[in-house]
Amino acid sequence: MKKLSIILLINILVLMCLFYNFNLAMAASITSVTDVLSRSKASTLSNHTITFTSPTGVAAGETIVITFPTDFTGQVSIDYTDVDMYAATERTLAAAPDVATWGAVFSDSGGTRNRLTLTSGTGTVAAGGVVVIEIGTHASSGVTGDKQITNATAAGSFVVTVVAGSADSGSYALAIATEDQVTISSTVDPYLEFAVTDATVALGTLSRTAIKTDTATITAITNSASGYNITVNGATLTSGVNTITAIGGTHAASATSTEQFGFRVAATGGSGIVSDPYNDVAEYAFDTGSLPDIVASSAGVSDTTTYTLTYMANISNLTKPGSYTTTHTFICTGNF
């Protein structure tokens, strides 16, 4: 009898050990767990996109519980509208479970609104199913979320636990940093480049019967948001006390046997434009009454604009003989 008691005791102990180990073997760890934050900085609001695989799955009426560390805090009024759940399909969430609708509730777990419990009505997660849970303003299914979870107040590694259904559980870590952002700053200096690339205008011997023309070229480029102005200053063609009459502030066609001096301007490239009265494609002007007179400009940043100035002179029967010359000075001013 004594031997039988010992044998029975041993058998009981062995069976206890066997069943104890068997029960452990039933629990499974969730796998492939990630949580992508929108911000990693301490004490900063952040979205969470939590993804995991549940080996056993979640049965009808069971829960998925995500518990953040106590120093993570859900915003006041954070609720199911701030949560999306995807498991094979997008799941409908509400404050409480109802048939296929899952209940999503935030509660205190040593902290403030730091635990999310998703409770199934009749919905399930299949064994081996991938679950994606979004918490925050990116939870856009149904009502778009407007609340987030505030990160821990100090930098470090923080453990989040996940319990899925009655058998699966696990944990993962969040990296909270003192700073998660880098501000990059730089300066771009004002830039203005201007050149007279063809500075000689030779009209030759003026004629009463033929128009005499020649061209000059200037270029301008700037990174000024308000662009630039180019002005001209100088006199009409002059020989001692004698001059050739400037056309004036209204462009006019070239007319032989009429004393005229003026120019017109054509622009190519960039965004520079020619000002009135020098912008006509065929007629000329030279407004000596407005000197220095604006001949071209850009309203903003402009790549290289090439301005071609076509000078023209005519004489009449009364024009005095002589060597007529003039110098026109162009100035480009950036509007910074």
Binding site: T31, S38, S171, A175
Partner: protein, 233 residues
Amino acid sequence: MTNYLKLFLIVLFGLFSNSQAFAAMDSSHYSVPKDVINEASGVSSSVNYKITHNLSESPVGVSSSTNYKINAGFFIDENPILTLSISTNSVNLGTLRLDTVSTGNITLTISTNAQNGYAVQAYDNTSSGIENGFVSGLARVADATTPNIYVALPSAGTEHYGIVVTGTHAASGYASGTKINSLDDTTLVDIGSYTGFIAEDTLTVQYRASITAITPASSNYQTTSTFIATGNF
């Protein structure tokens, strides 16, 4: 002593030794969460399971010296860990030039015990390039490329802004620092990743920018990069 009593004692020993095997050891310089006696251990896996197991481990412990520390012959049962730190929170590229590519570096340091490692990603708070802080959206130093489309490093005088990441576990698209990537405010851009445990892994992020003559003038070009580390547990 009868055979039955011997068997009983063996079972008792087994039960108690099980608890002793998980006794912790501590001193002012180290902590050993578990020590076990081992004869066989390893990782077993199939389609539906993966288990890290040990059986009757041999006496083991922590050995360390100035230059090493080893956790020998046993499993350490520890919490998930993931940390991220950034060397500085500002990079001033100075006055950008036509004849130079301006650069500035930061260093990210990541540690994790996640069995599948980590990934670091980033985004900017501007939709494109570095924007004029006073007139957002109207003037910018343009991106070198589309986020996550890696291109060869632009030369000086070509307007561009972007990042080049180097480090043992930098994203492969950077091609060892020979390709550039750009950030925007809607795309998570790959910085680097690793697929196992790692301590103090470093990634160097180099910001690069240059301009043309018509890059709008501004003393306040600015953007902000946000970095996110995710553990793959």
